[in-house]
């Protein structure tokens, strides 16, 4: 059984790494996980190359769920998905969820062996609860 991979994309590498640390400590080592953040120049930002690298690092045949923070992170993630091999494109989704909480929820769901659609739905449940 292969578990869905999780990618965390933030404008800040510290935020992205911190969220990934929380996932590793709470959910454990059982899922593919990668993070990316910061501009290539070392400032705040996101890059398509960085996101492509993270997708590759967290790749799973079950697919990859991406958690993003603000606007550009989402736009660059969409561009990264468009640049993927067509066979991979359908297996990568962006979750509409808060980056830290969504990453933990998505990772827990992925740890249990759920499929990509279920992982995405669980991360997005956060938007529907009080």
């Amino acid at each position: 059984m292969s578990n869905v991979g999780i990618v965390i994309v933030s404008h800040s590498p510290d935020v992205a790494k911190g969220a990934a640390d929380m996932v590793r400590q709470m959910v454990g080592q059982g899922i593919p996980l990668a993070w990316t953040g910061g501009s290539p120049a070392g400032g705040l930002g996101t890059s398509v190359e960085g996101i492509l690298g993270a997708i590759d690092a967290a790749w799973s045949d079950a697919g990859v769920a991406i958690l993003v923070d603000l606007g550009g992170a989402e736009t660059n993630s969409e561009m990264a998905i468009e640049m993927l091999d067509p066979a991979r494109q359908g297996k990568v989704v962006i979750c509409n969820a808060p980056v830290v909480e969504g990453a933990v929820m998505a990772a827990t769901e992925a740890w249990g062996g759920s499929d990509l659609a279920t992982v995405k739905r669980t991360a997005e449940e956060l938007n529907h609860e009080d």
Partner: protein, 92 residues
């Protein structure tokens, strides 16, 4: 159907980390598992991190656990052990 009651001894209550540990253990069983802080319910899906966190259960609450399915007895026993052991020894 199996059920049991266990005292939540974890000092911080059912907060993020214990919820994730409990959910991971629940997911290792095929049975449908529900948890409540009150015997009359509401009964919350033990495999949902979001729903369990939203219970906002404080420490010293009696948790009611029930499971339905082929491995219901083992599921309830494992969850009771986890909660009474202060969430130590969950799945890696």
């Amino acid at each position: 159907m199996a059920d049991a009651q266990v005292l939540l001894v974890h000092a911080a209550g059912l907060h993020a980390r214990p919820v994730v540990t409990l959910t991971k253990l629940a997911r290792t069983f095929a049975s449908r598992i529900h948890i409540a802080a009150n015997q009359q319910g509401p009964w919350i899906d033990a495999k949902s991190v979001v729903k369990l966190m939203n219970m906002k259960t404080p420490t010293n609450t009696h948790l009611f656990i029930r499971a339905e399915g082929a491995d219901a007895d083992a599921a309830v026993a494992a969850l009771v052990t986890l909660v009474s052991n202060d969430f130590l020894g969950g799945p890696e």
